[in-house]
């Protein structure tokens, strides 16, 4: 069958700088580079290049540059290169197109159309270097009433809470979709930071049980790796109903990623595909969810908060309100720009709604119904920096999940080929020679640095607003203004336009 596919990238090698150390060749799992002994030249097979920049990053003389392939099809306003390319691929393969990470398509990023307030004159901004600036949050239910004992002393009638030093958590990424070393990096960082990471639906490797107090374990439609010990060791349990990148779609981890260790963690045979069904086959409606929530609470003696994670879809507000009444302690909403290890391209790029709008409408709905205090809201789906965190919290979130940002901190270069399992950065792969490229000793420090840096920035932004505790920012939409948004968008976001 003829192959009409063009390369995505070109390898530009400055031969005057190349010293033939062949690091590029050794480090490219896609086998783009090779050395021709006879003519003493480095060759490149560009069709194989995914633009992960491993070679560029390691080239000691900066002789390499990966650039977008300059040639194009005869594209036009309607038929973009991408659309043409996809048709060629499908005409060749007859299959569903797969891709990884969040959608690259130019949908509006509302975070970028929201600006943050600061104090001038009428009230003082606060200098985080001089005054305490608090970023600690607790996630969980708040009871309706207080209780006192006979002496009038307040009883602690709070259900189990998650305490976060900063309102950021590492979102669900399963062991299998990412490597052992990536998991260890996340677990260690979460522990050091006093936050949480999430196992995703991959079970929990026995080596990581020691990080249990900072671990959120996931129970998803495949129920992989779920057993008493798994639930008991965790700080919280997350029921995954959906994922922003692929709402309404299950998961599929190809057999080659099910290695000895992965199979043990997932409790499935080595080499078999791990398929998570689209729905939970014991949850066909909200009351079924309630049953699962409570059976998990029963199983763990009501000692752990239960999180329900859903994808941001059109009627998310109603869904969230349902969940809030289902006994869940925390609702996690994943926006459609969220990442994935592998998803059908068409789904990823066309299904769901942006997290900003979903969050705004859910927060409003829960308040209108007077039940916002029943649950905490965690949002995900492309939180890219500390400003996104601040905006999300001002819109009404209690905390944010970061996935892609964490992976980038670990070295991910967003080449979006996780599903190929040949991650040159040792993250989205199970190939031992690639996995070892991510040394958790380095990885966890980079994650700690990232979150610490964001925490500093959050404090700066809070101080500017004259706020010295993150609680006072939650839902504080007056601190936000929109730019270039229409009336409807402003109304949904519940914010004023800049200048108002």
């Amino acid at each position: 069958m003829p192959n009409y596919i063009l390369p995505d990238f070109e390898v530009e090698r400055r031969d005057d700088r190349c010293i033939r150390c062949r690091v590029c060749e050794r480090q490219c799992a896609n086998e783009v580079h090779s050395y021709d002994e006879e003519n003493d030249v480095m060759l490149a097979d560009e069709l194989k290049c995914v633009g992960c920049h491993r070679c560029v990053a390691l080239c000691p003389t900066r002789a390499l540059k990966i650039v977008k392939y300059s040639g194009t099809f005869r594209e036009n306003a309607n038929w973009s290169n991408q659309s043409i390319l996809e048709i060629y691929k499908q005409a060749e393969s007859g299959g569903v197109l797969l891709s990884s990470m969040g959608t690259p398509n130019p949908y509006p990023v509302y975070f970028d159309k929201i600006l943050i307030n600061a104090s001038q004159v009428t009230n003082p901004s606060i200098d985080p270097l001089r005054e305490p600036m608090e970023t600690r949050v607790f996630l969980g239910k708040r009871p309706q009433n207080i209780e006192r004992d006979e002496t009038g002393k307040l009883n602690n009638n709070l259900p189990p809470q998650l305490e976060l030093s900063v309102p950021i958590m590492f979102s669900a990424m399963s062991y299998g979709s990412i490597s052992y070393n990536a998991h260890e990096s996340l677990a260690r960082a979460a522990t050091e930071l006093g936050i949480y990471y999430n196992t995703g639906e991959g079970g929990l490797h026995e080596d990581f049980y020691k990080y249990g107090p900072n671990t959120i374990v996931q129970v998803a439609s495949g129920r992989f790796g779920v057993h008493k010990g798994y639930l008991d060791v965790a700080a919280a349990i997350e029921i995954k109903m959906g994922q922003g990148a692929k709402p309404g779609i299950g998961g599929h981890l190809p057999g080659e990623k099910i290695t000895e260790d992965v199979s043990r963690a997932r409790m499935i045979p080595v080499g078999t595909d791990a398929i998570s069904p689209a729905p939970h086959h014991d949850i066909y409606s909200i009351e079924d969810l309630r049953q699962l929530v409570y059976s998990l609470k029963e199983a763990t003696e009501y000692k752990k908060p239960v999180i329900v994670k859903v994808a941001a879809v059109h009627n998310i507000a109603a869904i969230a309100s349902g969940i809030a009444r289902s006994g869940a302690d925390i609702i996690a909403i994943d926006g459609f720009r969220g990442g994935t290890g592998a998803a059908p391209t068409r789904i990823r790029d066309n299904v769901g709604i942006p997290i900003e709008l979903a969050l705004a409408s859910v927060d409003k709905r829960l308040r209108d119904e007077g039940i916002r205090g029943n649950v905490s809201l965690v949002v995900a789906g492309s939180i890219r920096n500390s400003a996104d965190v601040v905006k999300a919290i001002a819109l009404g979130a209690d905390a944010c999940y970061i996935g892609t940002a964490a992976l980038i901190a670990l070295g991910c270069h967003l080449c979006r080929t996780c599903h190929l399992g040949k991650c040159n950065w040792g993250i989205a792969t199970q190939r031992p020679d690639l996995v070892k490229r991510l040394n958790p000793e380095i990885g966890y420090k980079r994650l700690v640095n990232l979150v610490t840096a964001w925490q500093h920035e959050i404090k700066e932004l809070l101080g500017g607003m004259g706020i010295n505790s993150i609680e006072a920012l939650r839902g504080n939409r007056l601190m936000l203004r929109g730019v270039g948004l229409n009336e409807k968008e402003l109304e949904i976001l519940g914010i004023k336009h800049a200048g108002e």
Partner: protein, 366 residues
């Protein structure tokens, strides 16, 4: 567009003062006016007001409703509503003194009323909650009518003008009470309307406040889940509602309420003895959205006494002093000296430390 409370958020700096006799000894409103006068600098003539307690012994069991009307239609509509929900003992114009400094006054009426028993029973609410809801209803629904005082045996008097002029206008020198608070306003943009002046009051709760809180919308959006409607978009309003919610609905003590709205920092909580630590952690975890940040100093009054409180960083000035059974709170010491030259035990309460004064023999809680 004419700027009006309720349409725009109006931050403002201010002067506050409060005087209480713990033995319920009565004194005239002249003193609070004198005390406010020396802080004229802190106001800009765009709002002044007072709350006076124990001034209506004759009707001490009825709710004294002070209402502004823009016009007689508003009055007619509102009185229809009142008659429907209340038995009114007396309705009269609130006595005022015409002075050049105070102009454009609305119709100002006063009603001594009690809920109609049939209605009250039907509502399945207690008398206070019933009355409060009626107040919200009028302020929200009846255009041009605004209830600015709704407590028993107390009254709020406020207007656009400097506090001392407002005091003369309302003839405060002719009222006798055991507790007064005053407020002089310095809004950073111009309000149109008398209702926007302070104190802000609900039932027998009245609050005067100096500051601009940065947590406003977080507090507002949370408190509105419980039936409150922040019609004025002022800090004073939301703080009053927060205290009303915590005290009247949740049932926290004044100290506990103070530990919620001006919660100690986690770092200082960590240093407390275990039991105290647990209590404070509980309150912060239970009511995170009622933490009030940004600068404020408030005096919160209720029938049984008052609480003075600063924001936890003490970003606004506030002084307290005593003389005999009298207790004084003010933005500045001079405001106290002006009415009590030999005031004793002058103190500058630290941030988040509530100063609670209750009437002798009275219950130590709102």
């Amino acid at each position: 567009m004419k700027l009006v409370e309720g349409r725009v958020r109006i931050p403002s700096g201010c002067a506050i003062s409060g005087i209480i006799s713990r033995d319920r000894r009565k004194f005239t409103g002249e003193r609070i006016v004198e005390s406010m006068k020396v802080m004229r600098e802190r106001s800009n003539g765009l709002g002044g007001g007072f709350a006076a307690y124990g001034i209506y012994p004759k009707y001490k069991d009825s709710y004294a409703l002070h209402i502004f009307y823009n016009d007689s239609n508003a009055k007619r509509e509102c009185e229809a509503f009142l008659n429907e929900h209340f038995e009114i003992d007396e309705a009269s114009e609130l006595p005022t003194r015409k002075i050049p400094e105070i102009t454009d006054e609305p119709l100002i009426w006063r009603y001594f009323a009690l809920p109609r028993p049939s209605r009250l029973a039907a509502s399945q609410l207690d008398e206070r909650e019933y009355t409060a809801r009626c107040v919200f209803a009028i302020n929200a629904r009846i255009d041009g009518a605004y209830v600015f005082s709704s407590g028993k045996n107390m009254g709020v008097f406020k207007a656009v003008g400097y506090p001392e002029d407002v005091g003369r206008f309302y003839m405060l020198d002719e009222y006798e009470g055991y507790m007064f608070i005053g407020h002089g306003r310095y809004p950073t943009n111009t309000p149109g309307w008398w209702g926007g002046a302070h104190p802000f009051s609900l039932l027998d709760f009245a609050v005067v406040h100096n500051g601009e809180i940065s947590s406003y919308d977080a507090n507002r959006r949370f408190i509105e889940m419980f039936g409150y409607r922040c019609a004025l978009m002022t800090d004073t309003e939301v703080i009053t509602y927060i205290l009303d919610y915590l005290i009247r609905h949740v049932g926290l003590t004044l100290e506990e309420s103070a530990s919620v709205i001006a919660a100690p920092f986690w770092s200082s909580i960590a240093k407390k003895p275990p039991e105290e630590r647990e209590r404070l952690t509980y309150l912060r975890t239970m009511f995170p959205s009622l933490l009030v940040t940004g600068p404020f100093s408030i005096i919160f009054c209720f029938e049984g006494g008052m609480m003075a409180l600063n924001d936890r960083l003490k970003l606004r000035s506030m002084v307290t002093a005593e003389k005999g059974d009298m207790v004084y709170v003010a933005s500045e010491e001079c405001a106290i000296r002006a009415v009590e030259p030999d005031a004793e035990n002058l103190r500058y309460p630290s941030g988040g430390e509530p100063v609670i004064v209750t009437l002798n023999g009275g219950k130590d809680n709102a």
